[in-house]
């Protein structure tokens, strides 16, 4: 009888310990996810501030209103529209304002949108040919944007 009571108490204590450990683990995982999310948010905000510092007033106004801005290629004078995003986010615009194609090139590394767009702007405005030489071009029709 005594043995059964001791066994029951031990089982109860073990179950209690297990519950406490699981709760602690869940809390740690949740906090880690929250930190990571917060870190990403801060990173993106810092990169967007840097981008806006380097945009012309016209480009900044366009970006703030439409989430895109236009740049002029340094060699051909072609107009490109850089949309907010990190991939296939550059649109070539014809002289009549029509969509021609999309270009995709990015700075190496896992950079956030603000940094990517700034590197794309500088590259197209200072070394258009060099940028397009590494870029991928696509002629997918411009349907709903998913940048």
């Amino acid at each position: 009888m005594t043995q059964q009571i001791v066994l029951a108490i031990c089982s109860f204590v073990l179950a209690l310990l297990g519950t406490v450990l699981l709760s602690a683990l869940s809390l740690a995982v949740a906090r880690s996810g929250s930190c990571s999310k917060s870190f990403r948010f801060e990173t993106e905000a810092r990169a967007l501030t840097l981008l806006k510092d380097w945009l012309s007033p016209k480009q900044r106004a366009s970006y703030e209103r439409f989430r895109y801005f236009d740049v002029v290629g340094s060699h051909t004078g072609t107009r490109y529209r850089i949309h907010h995003g990190t991939q296939t986010n550059i649109e070539e615009i014809s002289g009549t304002g029509q969509h021609v194609c999309k270009w995709c090139f990015v700075p190496d590394g896992d950079l956030v949108a603000g940094d990517v767009m700034l590197a794309q702007k500088i590259a197209l405005e200072t070394n258009e040919r060099g940028a397009l030489a590494v870029a991928h071009r696509s002629f997918v029709s411009s349907g709903p944007r998913r940048f």
């Binding site: 990173t43 990169a47 380097w54 950079l111 500088i122």
Partner: protein, 73 residues
């Protein structure tokens, strides 16, 4: 004071140096050489929304931005 801004996974890392301090300028020049040697492009602002790419260290540049080598996306 001048600043070198290096794009990275944290957004950017900033290195500030005193342009009148020879040791700091030398350190900044070494950083410039290391980064450009590793494929980074260095650019300085020349006006609102305007910039130029530089191939050699410019100690008089108030702000130099470095971005990594471009690759097709």
């Amino acid at each position: 004071m001048a600043t070198q801004i290096v794009m990275d996974r944290t957004g950017d890392t900033r290195h500030t140096f005193d342009v009148h301090d020879r040791a700091e300028v030398e350190k900044a020049e070494r950083r410039f050489m290391e980064l450009t040697g590793a494929g980074f492009t260095a650019a300085v602002r020349t006006g609102p929304g305007e910039q130029r790419v530089i191939r050699s260290f410019d100690p008089t540049a108030e702000e130099t931005l470095f971005y990594p080598r471009l690759v097709g996306g």
